[in-house]
Amino acid sequence: MENIIEVQHLSYRYQDTDERPALDDISFTVKAGEWLALVGHNGSGKSTLARAVDGLLPFSEGTVTVGGIKLTPDTVWQVREKIGMIFQNPDNQFVGATVEDDVAFGLENRQISRAEMVPRVKAALDEVGMQAFAQREPGALSGGQKQRVALAGIVAIAPDILILDEATSMLDPQGRRDMLALVQHLREEKHLTVISITHDIDEAASADRILVIDDGKLVEEAKPAEIFAQGERLVHLGLDVPFTAKLKQALQDRGITVPAGYQTTTEMEEWLWQSLSNT
């Protein structure tokens, strides 16, 4: 697989006088079609990093290449064509008076003709299950519905890359699960590359690979199971401790020897059941 994103030695300071850079010599690549999770505690620099990739930050050192195009002030619009971003608070990203106007906004910006726009908006709303709400006012929707509309806006412009910046953090548990399932579905159908910035353990578990950012530095890069094996330390990385890790810690504290490494709930259930039956 080709690399759709290449970041080399990226550094950024919000102000030239800042002692500590917000991003400090970060390098990584993302393969086309990959789901990458960016984790780190609040203020670690993960959102800053996503913004740099989308050309929203005038970074001082390093290079960002997206789909073979090196990000410069001249190419920033070409790069942004390839990326759709969804932010934490859906209320901050609505511009249209109705749901369909809002979905059409990105197409209008790209000077798509009305004849083409109308079916694309309809198809995008169908894709996220929001066609029935086309004429509604975005402000009156629930949080989960708002994020679906935001996703429809992205489906309409058909980018190669979707960046979710804590896009599920304001949703209730059901809304979060629905949103993740929808992203997973769109990713397969549209061959999207997904970068999700998250504190949610289930969202991070959906990823092929996790990058851990701390103090503007890339401190770890591994598969979810390897990251989750760190147990209590995960809280410092800005993630929840998975339930199985909490339970293992609690058993260990009570003198029970537990298997090393991360276990899924199914593996943990199997191991416990075997152990309990083993009399």
């Binding site: 304001m170 909490k246 339970l247 029970i256 259930e269």
Partner: protein, 290 residues
């Protein structure tokens, strides 16, 4: 301060063609120094319910008692000021309500509004900064330079500075990272334990319900389905399933083991409770070993 709801109903825009019932026949009691969690899906009436506690919304039918205060549909706003001083409301994303030039002035605003002198309000602001885990160096800074988590602490300090007896929290940890969530929930628990504040917590986090609440109220479509201890509520797995409510991860996991024949003394709700019961059943370790 104890809270009692008696057959409380609330209808938005009552008496108009737009009338929308949001609460019907809700009755429950929270004892003084109690900790009640309120759960339910988006739109089930949780937020409407908590706004009755300081009479931001007054019931359309029924009666609410908060300590010696009584709120009925006839209660006038003039009667409510003393009540409102005792009920601290922390709404969702309270940081969006910050407005002052300095953090100290923002925190001191509430108490001054209720007649506390400027000097005392400023002193309280400094104390509250410490309570929420920010040091005095923050006092003169602008609240708008802070991170989201810090801004939320300042907003909560502003509510605490009014020295409420009841703290009503509407999803206070939404949008925070896990470390921030834990610190925030620990803070509320400390206020509950050390200062005896009555806490009403609206939440989607069943782990928090299991860890902190004495009782949990389950709302659905404007009705109170049940109000009982977390143990009682989560224990009835058929009811839990038919009512479409989430359960703590430990309870869900324990349920999977009981489907395979493991018997629990009572359903574990936290990893620690589960581990305690597993140890008792562990070959070669437990009291139950046969």
């Amino acid at each position: 301060m104890a809270i009692t709801f008696e057959h409380v109903g609330y209808t938005y825009q009552a008496g108009t063609p737009m009338a929308t019932p949001a609460l019907s026949d809700v009755s429950f009691t929270v004892p003084d120094h109690g900790y009640l969690a309120i759960i339910g899906h988006t739109g089930s009436g949780k937020s409407t319910l908590i706004q009755q506690i300081n009479a931001l919304l007054k019931p359309t039918t029924g009666k609410i008692s908060v300590d010696d205060f009584t709120i009925t549909p006839q209660t006038t706003n003039a009667d409510l000021k003393p009540l409102r001083r005792h009920v601290g409301m922390v709404f969702q994303f309270p940081e969006s309500q910050l407005f002052e030039e300095t953090i100290q002035r923002d925190i001191a605003f509430g108490p001054q509004n209720f007649g506390v002198s400027e000097d005392e309000a400023n002193q309280r602001a400094l104390n509250m900064l410490e309570t929420v885990g920010l040091d005095e160096s923050f006092a003169d800074r602008s609240p708008f330079e802070l991170s989201g988590g810090q801004m939320r602490r300042v907003a909560i300090a502003g509510v605490l500075a009014m020295q409420p007896k009841i703290l009503v929290l509407d999803e206070p940890t939404a949008g925070l990272d896990p470390q921030g969530r834990l610190e925030m929930m620990t803070l509320f628990n400390r206020l509950h334990q050390e200062q005896g504040l009555t806490i009403i917590l609206v939440t989607h986090q069943m782990e928090d319900v299991a860890a902190y609440a004495d009782e949990v109220a389950v709302m659905q479509a404007g009705k109170l389905l049940t109000c009982a201890t977390p143990q009682e509520v989560f224990n009835d797995s058929d009811w839990v399933q038919s009512s479409d409510i989430a359960v703590p991860r430990a309870a869900k996991f324990a349920q999977r083991l009981s489907d395979r024949g493991v018997k629990w003394d009572q359903l574990p709700l936290t990893a620690d409770q589960l581990a305690d019961q597993l140890v008792q059943r562990w070959p070669g370790m437990g009291a139950h070993h046969e």
